[in-house]
Amino acid sequence: MALSAPSASALGKASALGKRALVAAHRAWRKAAQRGAAFAAPVHGTWRRSLHFRVVTITLVASSLLVGGFSYLVATQSTNILLHGTEAEVKSQLHDDVQYAADQLSIYPVRYNREIQVTLNATASYLSGGGPEQGGFVALTAVRHSNLKTAAPRGVDVSPLIGDQLEDEVAYQGQVARQIRTADLGGGPTKYLVYGSRVPTDFGQVELYRIVPLTTEDQTANQIRTMVLFTGVALVVLLGVLAALVTRLVVNPVRVAARTAQRLSAGLLDQRMAVNGEDDLAQLAAAFNQMATNLQRQIVRLEEMSRLQRRFTSDVSHELRTPLTTVRMAADLIFAGRDDFDPAVARSAELLQAELDRFESLLTDLLEISRFDAGFAMLDAEPTDLVPVVRRVVDRLAGVADRAGVAVDLRLPDTPVIAEVDPRRVERVLRNLVGNAVEHGEGRPVVVTLGVDDSAVAVTVRDHGVGLRPGEEKLVFNRFWRADPSRARQTGGTGLGLSISLEDARLHGGWLEAWGAPGQGAQFRLTVPVRAGDRLTSSPLRLVPQAEVTA
């Protein structure tokens, strides 16, 4: 393209201008979008939370699209129909006009005649009838006749209405053509339909334009548009309100049900839903209420049973203690004098003494358990150095370990490990864990490790006995649970030790966990917070031994 320099620069300027406008538009768009995003963040939250909001929004958007599309179709179609009607009317009128003008001008032969201008004016005036304001008017031009001037009623200047392109089509291409143009002929800017055709005459060619104001059509189109717009908006709003109402009808009971369920789960067992009518939601409410009632009844019954059971255990323990004391005293007497008895009797006295010890510790454990169950267990926490505690436990069990041929390996930090714990309970837990390890150690060494970090203290007890089968790591904490029920009880364990230990750990806000694998032994870990009442998030020691993991 060979553009001359000035036009190229002008083009460049124009394109630069266009680019700048584009950039500005994009910036404005982004700004609007950002503002929208700022507004959208809470909206997004609401969107996720509220079914109500979601349904209404979807309804609004969907109906807006639908109604908008439909409205556009209706408005466009009606405007087109209006316009087509007018165009057809004007076209047929144009045909008559051209016929009339051709007739009127047919009296002039080839030669130019001054009368022609008079006839042009008269014809334009006659065909215009009411004039530019009413029903349009006719202008006659003779662009190929320098002698003839444009004839229009009352000297209206029609040049702004007859564009170059239209003139070209009509005057030079000989077409019947039309165009809508806006012009101000004295009564403010008005849209006009300009329909043109040439008029055959003997002296040359004259063009006839019928110019019809589209005021009525424009008003009607605007009215239709306004009406459609209002109807559409009203419809969308109505749909939105309807959706809101309907959703509310459904969502409200669901919300009530949710709230009621929350209260129920919080322990307010007498909460019920209001049942209105007999519809689906009423059925839901009724069913919900039924469920709540059943649950409440069941829970109350279970609670009652549980209370009775605990009471029974407690009572039985207490009731047994008194006679046991008596029996104990008698047995102590007998045991003291066993040397004087027949060896068989003496042996019985020893057995009696041993079993009484067991019985007593069982009762003690039962009482402890029932105390936990009754919620009477109190944590007597004080800052305690756990290193001596661990040592003491191991020392106390040294005899048992020696008898079992189990070496207890202590791995303790060099520094004191201070934590706010109830030393009596921690000692009981550890004694229980180490005792179990020694008992199930199968003569292999037991490792006791103490670990600490900023928030927690942990003790692990590792044995290398038979270990635990999968799933048993939870079961071990159940009351009176045995890995092999057929196995004779060799040691004096009551079957309640780990249960009590678990309760003790919980009382500290700590964890007591077990790990085990068949043939590889087991490891128990006690973790308690450094400060009483803190929440545990992690433990300083691993539950699963490192060697097992790597293996």
């Binding site: 979008a33 556009y72 051209v98 032969p109 005649n113 006839t119 005459t201 424009d218």
Partner: protein, 594 residues
């Protein structure tokens, strides 16, 4: 991102709704080809020769005297082209359609001045003023001599008029070349018939354009002569368009004023249709604003509207022989029909002159009979609501001239008695003198046009035409005008057609019969009768055909121009049932049933 999409959709919807009204401007849409341009039909050029056409100075002067001929509005421009550029500016048109001075050139001399210029001296008679509506009015100029200087202009071929007369001159001889005689018609004030008003139509006006021009002339009104005798179109009438030929009809559009209460649109339509030349006459569609269109056809009522048309193709001829009326065998059917019922044997004697006319359902006869030493006029009618026998009119006079009947309606006659013009009615009674304002000398002959509103009289040897107003009791001459002809010493006159008279005159003691247009523009000699003075002349006015039919008495012998005799003398065998011993030419006072 989803939000952006929603925003975009909303914006698009808004823009879409805003865009679905009627747009401010659309591209040009083409429906298809328009009507194809018509084929140009250039008629034969009817323009006077241009300035450069002259081969000699004499011809140049002749051409100059024709230059104004053609469409009136361009006459001034055409004449201007003959003028030297230096004098053109002083020669301004004073009106849009200037009147042309019609002159009859008696002599033209072109004298070379020796310096390349020439002086033309024209001796002329002023004939009249031809105005834009094609009517010839009495002359306003009195000059009898015009001097025109002819010269050359450097750098331009041909000659120029360097000293023009300050008026537009047109030689009457050019009228017949560049103009066509036409009649336009107006209703008489009693609305009983149409009165023709002769006009000249430039041949330069195309046939397609003539109806429009004719309509304009009708709207402009009748000529001065007819002014009081005829009705004008309703005041304010204008045409709202041209008069196009739509194939089988001419469409005439008039403003609402044309629909005035007292002017029947149908009558208006018939008037328009009669005003069109017969060659372009066809059905009319008359559109008056505020009224439904009417179609006017050439029906009987249309034909009846023009009294001139009622004349039969072949006129019934009669002659008086031995005081009795006989038919001539040149009448239809060989003249074997009996005489009209009104001419009974009881009255058919001692007759000197007779006039028969029929119209309006009445046949009227006026007979001049010998009564004692004098003559008496008898009138009688048959038909109509009051048929009566013959009644004498007035008293016995010494001599009574040829009576004529006025038609439309047929209730009045005119007769010249003792150099004065008198009226008589159907009921007899007295003769009433009709005064002729502006007419000098003794009246010697009278003739009436078929329309009954125009008469021609010969008075003091001059020829006059007059328009009359009348009722069944009186006749009043409203305007009279001398026919500006070069002829003198008229002795007899008869209406020949709508705009022409047949007249007899004497020139150098020799008599002649010829035609003269009522505006004096054209004159033609038909018969030279030598010493034999023409004392009696009747014509059969017919329109539109121009078939010369005239009967007269010259030197005491009766003549019939259509008779079998070469000379025109009425032979004895032409008199049906006449006496066998009749001498040729002894049949006197031949007349037509008008």
């Amino acid at each position: 991102m989803r939000l952006r999409a929603v925003l975009a959709v909303v914006v698009a919807a808004g823009v879409g709704m805003a865009g679905c009204g009627i747009p401010d401007e659309t591209p040009v849409r083409v429906d298809g080809p328009g009507p194809s341009p018509g084929f140009a039909t250039e008629g034969a050029s009817a323009d006077p020769p241009p300035r450069e056409a002259a081969a000699s100075k004499d011809q140049f002067v002749d051409n100059y005297l024709q230059a104004a001929a053609g469409e009136a509005r361009d006459a001034h421009a055409r004449v201007s082209l003959y003028l030297a550029p230096a004098v053109r500016s002083g020669f301004k048109a004073t009106q849009e359609e200037p009147s042309l001075n019609l002159v009859r050139v008696r002599t033209r001399t072109v004298a070379d001045n020796g310096d390349g210029t020439a002086t033309a001296t024209l001796q002329v008679d002023q004939v009249g003023m031809l105005d834009g509506d094609g009517q010839v009015n009495p002359p306003t100029q009195t000059a009898t001599t015009y001097t025109i200087k002819v010269g050359e202009v450097e750098g331009k071929p041909g000659w120029f008029v360097t000293t023009p007369p300050d008026v537009l001159l047109l030689d009457v001889a050019a009228l017949s070349i560049y103009y066509e005689r036409q009649n336009i018609y107006f209703w008489n004030v009693e609305r009983t018939g149409l009165v023709p008003d002769p006009r000249y139509m430039p041949r330069a006006v195309s046939p397609a354009g003539q109806p429009t021009e004719i309509l304009d002339r009708l709207i402009a009104g009748p000529s001065e002569l007819l002014g009081a005798a005829v009705r004008r179109l309703p005041a304010g009438t204008q045409r709202t368009g041209t008069v196009p030929d739509t194939g089988d009809r001419l469409e005439i559009s008039l403003s609402a004023e044309a629909g005035a209460q007292d002017y029947d649109p149908v009558e208006l339509g018939r008037q328009l249709m009669w005003s069109l030349p017969s060659s372009m006459r066809k059905d009319l569609e008359l559109r008056i604003e505020g009224q439904s269109p009417r179609v006017i056809t050439e029906d009987q009522a249309f034909l009846d509207a023009n009294p001139a048309y009622t004349s039969a193709e072949t006129p019934e001829r009669f002659a008086i022989y031995g005081g009795r009326i006989y038919r001539l065998n040149s009448s239809p059917n060989g003249g074997r029909d009996p005489l009209p019922a009104i001419i009974t044997n009881a009255v058919n004697h001692d007759i000197l002159l007779a006039a028969l006319a029929s119209g309006s359902g009445v046949t009227a006869a006026a007979l001049v009979v010998k009564q004692g030493a004098g003559q008496r006029l008898l009138v009688g009618t048959t038909g109509g609501d009051r048929p009566r026998g013959f009644t004498p009119v007035d008293t016995v006079r010494e001599a009574i001239g040829r009576p004529v009947w006025l038609k439309a309606p047929l209730d009045t006659g005119l007769v010249v008695v003792g150099g004065k013009l008198y009226r008589f009615g159907l009921d007899g009674g007295a003769l009433t003198q009709v005064s002729l304002p502006g007419v000098g000398g003794a009246v010697s002959a009278v003739s009436a046009a078929p329309d009954g509103r125009r008469i021609a009289v010969v008075a003091g040897g001059r020829l006059y035409v007059a328009a009359i107003g009348r009722d069944d009791q009186s006749v009043e001459v409203q305007a009279a005008r001398a026919v500006p002809t070069s002829l003198q010493q008229f002795t007899e006159v008869a209406w020949h057609d709508d705009g022409q008279l047949t007249a007899a005159w004497l020139r150098g003691g020799r008599s002649a019969i010829g035609t003269v247009t009522i505006d004096g523009v054209a004159e033609e000699v038909l018969y030279e009768r030598g010493e034999a003075q023409v004392t009696y002349l009747v014509d059969y006015p017919r329109s539109p055909t121009d078939n010369q039919s005239v009967m007269y008495v010259a030197g005491g012998k009766g003549y019939d121009s259509q008779g079998p005799d070469q000379d025109g003398v009425i032979e004895a065998n032409e008199v049906v049932n006449g006496p066998s011993n009749a001498a040729p030419g002894s049949a006197t006072a031949p007349f037509y049933l008008n």
